[in-house]
């Protein structure tokens, strides 16, 4: 298919405060690359006032108003944006919500779903993506063999887009929710983690493992270091299983996937399951007393020493700089 037949590449833009989320900026970058390869342009899609923010990055933004809460309405809205604009490619950051909504949009559109893409291009008119499988150890190259393609973009795999030179235009896209979109009721639940920085959005992640020795070591070492670096706190499965930290902080196969600029692993051995949640980090720093810990095979700086001795020295050195 030619670029004209494919229509624009759509990108969903989530906004926090007055800026797109980092994930959204990465999705815009991915969408721009895809559009360049397809010979077409990028349109934004955003909810309500978020459209004004998205218009700083994109020439045209489709604004969707009055969405009910929950995934069903998002499926409706994202599918409607493909239908209503003649687009055949939809790109969104791979947040938890998007990973649950996007495959449904692909099913509803009868299209292909490319999940957590780390590269995106077009070959012979078909969208081609690379993604990681087998606990993030294998790179698979996939071709979307359908008229439309829905793509989630892996956190940290693309650069953050810069604003456009000119402010884009905002057009309202009418989406009518029906009964089916209200069948799930959603309300906030008590006991969510009140993290200062969302784990997936953090530039620095300080994570702790069993090698810390106790839950208290998180309070005395991990959290102060994270605060000092303006980062988020993470944990391994062993630590969460021991109930030292909440599930929301777990990184790895059964937890969250992060790709910060710097990942500091304190007392973490580096099991495959944990590495699969952080091995896309730009820099990995490990502190562990066990010289045989597998993490030392896959880190940039490794300090073979007791975390209780190294972290206080690190805090001191940070004060001095």
């Amino acid at each position: 298919m030619s670029g004209a037949e494919r229509g624009p590449v759509l990108v969903w833009v989530d906004v926090v405060g007055t800026e797109p989320t980092r994930g959204a900026l990465q999705a815009i970058d991915a969408a721009r690359r895809l559009a360049a390869a397809a010979g077409t342009h990028v349109h934004g899609v955003a909810a309500g006032e978020d459209a004004q923010v998205a218009a700083r990055y994109l020439p045209t933004v489709h604004r969707i108003d009055a969405l009910p809460d929950g995934h069903d309405a998002r499926v409706r809205a994202w599918h409607a944006s493909l239908d209503g604009t003649g687009a055949t490619m939809f790109v969104v950051a791979g947040t938890r919500t998007a990973l649950a909504v996007a495959p449904r949009v692909a099913v509803r559109a009868g299209g292909a779903y490319l999940e957590e893409a780390v590269t995106l291009t077009v070959e012979d008119g078909q969208v081609v993506a690379e993604r990681l499988t087998q606990l993030q150890r294998v790179t698979e190259r996939l071709v979307a063999e359908a008229t439309s393609a829905v793509v989630t973009v892996k956190v940290g795999a693309f650069a953050e887009a810069e604003p456009a030179e000119e402010l884009g235009s905002v057009e309202v896209l009418d989406v009518v929710a029906d009964e089916r979109d209200r069948r799930v009721t959603v309300r906030p639940h008590e006991g969510g983690s009140g993290a200062a920085v969302a784990l997936e959005e953090a530039d620095v992640v300080v994570a702790g493992g069993r090698g810390l020795g106790s839950a208290e070591a998180f309070d005395t070492l991990v959290i102060p270091l994270a605060e000092r670096l303006g980062g988020a706190v993470g944990a391994t499965r062993a630590v969460v299983d021991a109930e030292w930290r909440p599930y929301g902080e777990q990184i790895g196969q059964t937890g969250k996937t992060v790709a910060p600029t710097v990942y500091l692993a304190l007392g973490i051995s580096g099991a495959v399951q944990h590495m699969s949640g952080m091995n896309r980090s730009r820099w990995i720093v490990a502190i562990n007393a066990d010289a045989d810990a597998p993490i030392f095979q896959q880190c940039d700086v490794g300090v073979i020493n007791d975390v209780h001795a190294v972290v206080p020295e690190l805090m001191k050195a940070l004060e001095e700089r």
Binding site: H71, V107, Y113, E115, V143, R183, T185, W283
Partner: protein
């Protein structure tokens, strides 16, 4: 009620991954029931043990050898198992279509699916299955209860968590934290051998995504290792942080 727990057979996490030509070779890998699916089997058993009259069916798409993973589900306590056999290694959306027909035939009220498949590294199966069936879905569920025709659950959202309520039938994707799966006991493993396990060919379904190649890539890291004086280690970390602009 009828509960279907979707089962997948995946290589054990410790298996060494190698690529030959365009395919993944898992020489000597142990194949296991995906840990994420164990939470689904366990939750179905707990719903029944809480007093709900339920038949529990373990359902899988895969090669003949998937029977082993289904036997594990039976040994945990599922009542019977069905295997839709194929050697085609279908992607999540295609697998969802294959499963949907069997689930409709079973007239299931609740379907439990692992939140993320260890081989695909994918969270798409549960949502794609719900959409194919036209049912609501609760993803990343950490607790659930059935109240008449309504499913109540708590799930992880992007930030914090939310309580969801939805009408049955519904699809739930499971994760760590939902429960602590039981180990099959020896008597139950013996009993599982006599339980019904019906294999039939998976329905034809054409895939919309084709895998063209697979590669194993290990990112090159600096591996600057420092032993001895903790101050030296601290300074090496600070210079990296400075270089990273963090």
């Amino acid at each position: 009620m009828k509960i279907v727990t979707v089962i997948r057979r995946v290589p054990d996490a410790e298996a060494r991954v190698r690529v030959e030509g365009d395919d993944v070779v898992l020489t000597g890998a142990a194949w296991v029931l995906d840990g994420m699916d164990e939470y689904g089997v366990e939750e179905a058993l707990r719903l029944r043990e809480s007093g709900i009259d339920a038949e529990i069916v373990a359902l899988a798409v895969g090669p003949d050898a998937t029977e082993e993973a289904l036997r594990t589900a039976l040994a945990m306590g599922a009542d019977r198992a069905r295997l839709l056999t194929t050697d085609a290694a279908p992607d999540p959306l295609t697998t969802a279509r294959m499963l949907a027909a069997a689930i409709q035939e079973e007239e299931a009220d609740l379907v439990l699916v692992g939140g993320k498949q260890a081989d695909w590294d994918s969270a798409a199966l549960g949502p794609a299955l719900a959409e194919t069936l036209g049912w609501p879905v609760a993803d990343w569920t950490t607790s659930l209860a059935v109240d008449g025709d309504t499913l109540q659950c708590v799930h992880d959202a992007d930030v914090g968590n939310e309580a969801l309520a939805m009408p049955l039938p519904a699809v739930v994707t499971t994760q760590q934290g939902l429960n602590d799966p039981r180990y099959p006991t020896l008597p139950n493993i013996m009993k599982a051998k006599r339980k019904e396990l019906r294999a039939e060919p998976a329905p034809d379904a054409s895939a919309s995504v084709r895998t063209v190649s697979r590669t194993v890539e290990q990112r090159e890291r600096r591996r600057t290792l420092i032993e001895g004086d903790p101050r030296e280690g601290a300074h090496a970390i600070v210079s990296l942080l400075r270089e990273a602009g963090a």
